[in-house]
């Protein structure tokens, strides 16, 4: 039914046939943005998705791949990545630093990451406080131009208890507020980044080790007049304690996909489900970036769905939700015409533990080819 609704729109966007056109037929398609299509066709046009639907007609001359029995799902986005980044523990951060400058484009970790189903990585700069600016990277190719989508895509902030980090944070933001109307040429890059953040032009991933740090951060942000910052929170499992506050603030939260235990008890708490019910948008980041951990993402989300998280929110939290939070949803996160052709061909439902990743496409090309 959804497919039928979509059809006219999608057909209209289907590109004319040429040699660069690939058609994948006979697949179940989980679009994430527009529901599920039981038996559909996916048309790729170059590095973009040309059309998605139940009855889209392959253009003449297109290369047709029959993938009957497989399921198509958008590539996973890891919103908290350190892929190909050095171990820089204790590094001093600053808002103008670029994660792109730390990144190693020939890292051996990139290939396995792609095979694990993650097709976009939000690289985090190292350091505390305002650590620097993150970049978007696709695990494809061996050079920065091939891999990097955006060099200065978001800001990373690590929230810490204690007076020294808090005073520095306050000073930085108040200084930036004063520089709102200043000539860009007259302010340094660090302040400029913070001004962009306060004006809402640069998303900030704020990492909170405890939910209390969020209360302190909100208190500070609320004290700065006339600013409209866009904040994405990276939180630990005990953030369920602040679910009411997060819901009231319509917060967006990145979590590890794991169940928590209520302190001193064996009572299981599904943090993701609690936040979802409180009206908080959630996204998942893998526990680590080993191949096992990345491949285990679907299984872990399946566990959370088993214990109360809605299937829709769970699948969205791997793809479209983090893309929306970080402002790349125009390019990735769902199977829609016009978006990047980054997707997975699975042997079954993504949340079934028996499902394998058969093929991975990035920019319309198979990086992990099927049989």
């Amino acid at each position: 039914m959804i497919a039928a609704l979509l059809l006219p729109v999608l057909l209209a966007q289907a590109a004319p046939a040429d040699a660069d056109c690939v058609v994948i037929t006979g697949v179940r398609i989980l679009t994430v943005s527009h529901g599920e299509i039981e038996a559909g066709t996916l048309i790729l046009h170059g590095d973009k998705i040309g059309a998605v639907g139940a009855d889209v007609q392959p253009p003449p001359g297109a290369k047709v791949l029959d993938r009957k029995g497989l399921t198509v799902f958008p590539g996973i986005l890891n919103p908290l990545s350190r892929l190909g980044m050095p171990d820089a523990a204790g590094a001093a951060g600053s808002a103008q630093h670029l994660a792109a400058d730390e990144f190693n484009p020939v890292s051996e970790a990139i290939g396995p990451a792609a095979r694990s189903g993650v097709t976009l990585f939000a690289l985090q700069p190292s350091g505390g406080g305002f650590a620097g600016q993150g970049a978007f990277v696709k695990p494809v190719g061996w050079t920065r131009p091939q891999q990097m989508l955006e060099k200065a895509a978001f800001l990373r902030l690590v929230l810490q208890p204690g007076s020294t980090p808090k005073d520095a944070l306050k000073q930085g933001l108040e200084g930036a507020r004063k520089a709102f109307d200043a000539d860009r040429k007259k302010i340094d890059d660090k302040t400029a980044a913070l001004v962009q953040f306060l004006k809402g032009d640069l998303v900030c991933i704020a990492e909170a080790g405890t939910p209390a740090e969020l209360l302190h951060f909100w208190q500070l942000l609320d004290s700065i007049p006339d600013c409209t910052p866009k904040v994405v929170i990276a939180a630990t499992g005990d953030v369920y304690k602040a679910a009411a506050d997060l819901g009231a603030r319509k917060a967006r939260v990145i979590l590890r996909p794991a169940l928590s235990l209520a302190p001193f008890t064996r009572e299981r708490i599904n943090t993701a489900a609690e936040l979802d019910k409180a009206g908080v948008q959630i996204a998942f980041a893998p526990l680590t970036e080993t191949r096992e951990s990345l491949e285990g993402m679907f299984f872990r989300v399946g566990e959370l769905v088993k214990y109360g998280l809605s299937r829709e929110a769970g699948l969205r939290a791997l793809t479209l939700s983090p893309a929306e939070m970080l402002g790349v949803d125009r390019r990735v996160g769902s199977l829609e015409a016009g978006k990047d052709a980054d997707f997975l061909l699975l042997t079954g439902d993504p949340l079934s533990p028996l499902t394998r990743i058969q093929e991975v496409y990035i920019n319309g090309r198979p990086v992990v080819p099927g049989e």
Binding site: P161, G162, S163, A212, A262, F264
Partner: protein, 417 residues
């Protein structure tokens, strides 16, 4: 039953009309006010985080959440005169920047009836039996406002540690005395300035003198705005502390006091407060020629000499691990131990409420049930000093933050008669 009642009442509590004041009334309980005696079967009415009315019969306004506590005891929330790792994250600097209202320790403290505590900043590390590292800055009084920073910080700075006077090197002692001397001079200057200002004798453009850094803190100490904390367990440490107190005349809290019972009058003359652990035990040295070691009668002896004190457990933290039963979760039982050593019940009660608040400098706000004071209130199912007694309800700033009936830790425990 109370739980079901409360739940339905609280669910009805209208957030619709926020401007309208919402009252909460505890009706029918025995109110142990601490400062104004016991009111049997009275009513306590709370409004906007404060105690609005107390009386045998209080007319309840229309929008009142009424909670029947007939047969229960209603007391001011207990005050922990010293606490470690409670409601703050391990961090240097001000307590205001380390507050952790989501800490599970806060929830446990509420379950123990504790609504406020004196804490000092610490960058971490806990000793097993009192071996905590020295604080990295002045202490503060915080409230157990689980889930919110609003109203959590009651007073900062509320105290300053002079531990180095007792345990430090000669140079550290010299420094403390020198800074206190500077503070004394600064205070005299300040007073002189105020006097001349009152008499309109200031020079043109003359600014108020202002001390900075530790001297500023010590000026506050000499003014009585905060108290010094000196760890003084044994006679030699107590005498060393008393020497400094008598020399500079400041409000002092002697902590970890063990042998205070051997020189109660000296402590009394210095007007120093004591923190007493009735259960602390230490044998007198075998060859000691003077009275030494711990005594369960210490609290009672200090009381007779007019010394004010607060009671603490052997471990001033909150936990469910190996120290359970010796920590702040059962603070009133320390009163029971002091009573066993001869202390009267009223003073024992004061020692975990109003006196603890007084030595922290916050007795105008908390520590007793009085109209106008903060609505930090606990409801107990029995006598506070009976080991069978449980905390049933805990209110902080008028908000119900603990209910035994819904607690994952305590709801299954039934009171034995």
């Amino acid at each position: 039953m109370i739980a079901a009642l409360l739940l339905s009442l609280l669910l009805q509590a209208p957030p619709k009309e926020e401007k309208k004041a919402v009252y909460t009334a505890l009706v029918g309980g025995d109110l142990q006010t601490v400062t104004q005696g016991v009111l049997k079967g009275g009513t306590l009415l709370m409004k906007d985080g404060k105690i609005f009315k107390i009386g045998p019969v209080v007319e309840l306004p229309e929008c009142t959440i009424k909670i029947d506590v007939t047969g229960k005891r209603v007391l001011p929330g207990f005050v922990a005169a010293s606490a470690r790792n409670l409601g703050i994250a391990p961090a240097a600097g001000k307590i205001a920047d380390a507050l952790d209202p989501f800490s599970e320790s806060v929830k446990l403290a509420l379950a123990g009836g504790i609504t406020s505590a004196y804490v000092e900043p610490s960058t971490g590390g806990t000793g097993v039996f009192g071996g905590a590292p020295p604080p990295s800055g002045p202490g503060a009084v915080i409230k157990m406002t689980y889930g919110t920073l609003d109203g959590m910080l009651l007073a900062e700075p509320a105290g300053v540690s002079l531990a180095a006077w007792i345990t430090g090197s000669p140079s550290e002692r010299y420094e403390i005395r020198e800074n206190l001397t500077k503070a004394k001079a600064a205070l005299e200057k300040e007073r002189d300035f105020e006097k001349r200002r009152a008499e309109n004798k200031l020079k043109p453009d003359e600014k108020a003198p202002r001390a900075t850094g530790i001297v500023e803190t010590y000026v506050k100490l000499l003014k009585g705005e905060l108290a010094a904390r000196l760890p003084a367990a044994h006679v030699e440490e107590l005498r060393r502390a008393l020497d400094l107190i008598n020399e500079f005349r400041f409000k002092a809290v002697l902590t970890d006091v063990l042998e205070g019972w051997t020189l109660p009058d000296e402590i009394g003359r210095a007007r120093a407060y004591c923190l007493v652990e009735p259960r602390a035990k230490e044998h007198a040295p075998r060859n000691s020629l003077r009275p030494a070691g711990s005594s369960i009668e210490q609290a009672a002896i200090l009381r007779k000499a007019g010394v004010k004190f607060a009671l603490l457990p052997p471990n001033a933290n909150v936990g469910t691990g190996g120290t359970a039963g010796r920590d702040l979760l059962t603070l009133p039982l320390e009163g029971a131990f002091a009573i066993r050593g001869g202390l009267d019940e009223q003073t024992a009660l004061e020692a975990i409420t109003i006196t603890a608040a007084e030595l922290c400098g916050v007795d105008a706000r908390i520590g007793s049930l009085e109209e106008g004071k903060d609505a930090d209130v606990v409801v107990l199912d029995g006598d506070p000093f009976d080991y069978r007694t449980f905390v049933e309800l805990t209110f902080v700033n008028g908000k119900l933050l603990y209910e035994k009936a819904t607690s994952p830790y305590f709801s299954h425990l039934k009171k034995t008669r």
